[in-house]
């Protein structure tokens, strides 16, 4: 398979980082178009596997996908090049408006504007959680995890990281019976 130049890797991921609105998930179809369809650097199967893996490890989706693809194509240098390229547009844009945002604080018109915007952001977060719940809450036992976290934070004041850790461990324990079957099958 032909090797991509680091310079080309950089410009590809910079384009993806600079033109996708709505974060990591919105980048996935763009990455596919550039690297699978146009450049033929990855097969469709490889790409699907990569996306499955990057969603299965912690971290930012955009960061994980660029790191993993860069690493597959050009090793550690490729990983660093890709992640720098995908983050650079947002870093430059935010840096250039950060001071403006800080200066505008206290301006009455801007306050009125953001008062409306903030209500909308709460709704956006709620809607993201609602859409996620349709895939995540598949039966009564998964609902128990959700309610457990809500109670854990609101009533017992536990840290989110502790609760995520608990959820992962309990999920593993309850899947041990399935794991035995899996091991028996592979043996």
């Amino acid at each position: 398979m032909k090797q991509i130049k680091l310079r080309e890797l950089f410009s590809t991921f910079m384009r993806i980082g600079g033109f996708t609105f709505g974060g990591g998930y919105a980048m996935i179809p763009l990455i596919e178009k550039e690297l699978v369809e146009q450049k033929g650097l990855l097969t469709e199967e490889e790409f699907i596997d990569i996306i499955a893996v990057v969603q299965g490890i912690p971290g930012v989706i955009a960061v994980n996908s660029s790191l993993f693809i860069g690493y597959k194509l050009r090793g550690i240098l490729g990983a660093l090049t890709s992640v720098l390229a995908i983050s650079l547009p947002s870093i430059l844009i935010i840096l250039s408006i950060a001071q403006l945002l800080l200066n505008l604080q206290g301006n009455q018109w801007v306050e009125a504007l953001f008062k409306g915007v903030r209500s909308a952001v709460v709704v956006l977060i709620f809607w993201a959680g609602y859409k996620m719940s349709k895939k995540a809450i598949v039966n009564y036992s998964s609902l128990i995890y959700t309610l457990g976290v809500v109670l854990g934070i609101l009533v017992f004041k536990l840290h989110p990281i502790v609760l995520i850790g608990f959820a992962g461990i309990i999920g593993m324990i309850t899947s041990i019976t399935k794991t035995k079957e899996y091991n028996d099958d592979t043996d």
Binding site: V83, F114, V123, L124, L163, T174, Y182
Partner: protein, 173 residues
């Protein structure tokens, strides 16, 4: 030292966020408010700005917070902190990842983590909503935003723009 604290805080966020995107919001909110780096208002404003500019919400947030707390070097440290856990995981275990992502134990952990993340997001909605949805105006704008998003299927950028305009209209009319 503030630069190291920025690095470690965003390292923690990068390491313990599962699911990307909005799944990061509860953890970032918790950390930013606990450190006193952002008020809830500022945090929500950054989420709004992130929706309207290209790039990932978490990177935008790391960039802004780093800049606000410690200028350009702050940005470099917070962004690198956010990326570092993924860099370590991917370069060290890349070869094992293909094999392990299908393992039943990993799948089992995810069956617990996914609904737990939904719980975290819903708590964030409650705690942020209590702070930033102010008065009857705020509630009305929220309901309009929900209808635009869920029924009209308007793009989030459109929902944010319309809500901002409504915020100005409600304040000055």
């Amino acid at each position: 030292m503030i630069l190291i604290e920025l690095f470690l805080t965003f390292f923690k966020i990068g390491l313990f966020t599962f699911g990307g995107g909005y799944a990061m919001i509860p953890l970032i909110q918790e950390e930013m408010v606990a450190h006193g780096w952002l008020t809830i208002d500022q945090f929500v404003d950054i989420v709004a700005v992130s929706q309207m500019t290209p790039g990932a919400v978490a990177i935008n947030n790391a960039t802004f917070v780093g800049y606000k707390v410690a200028g350009f070097f702050g940005t470099a440290m917070s962004t690198f902190g956010l990326i570092a856990p993924s860099l370590i995981i991917i370069t060290i275990v890349a070869k094992l990842l293909d094999k392990f992502s299908n393992h039943p134990l990993v799948e089992g952990a995810w069956q617990g983590i996914r609904p737990a993340v939904v719980g975290l997001i819903m708590v964030a909605v409650i705690s942020i909503g209590k702070e930033v949805i102010i008065g009857i105006d705020g509630i009305i704008i929220g309901i309009i935003a929900l209808v635009l998003l869920a029924k009209v299927k308007l793009h989030p950028i459109g929902v944010i723009v319309i809500s901002g305009i409504l915020g100005v209209l409600f304040t000055y009319i």
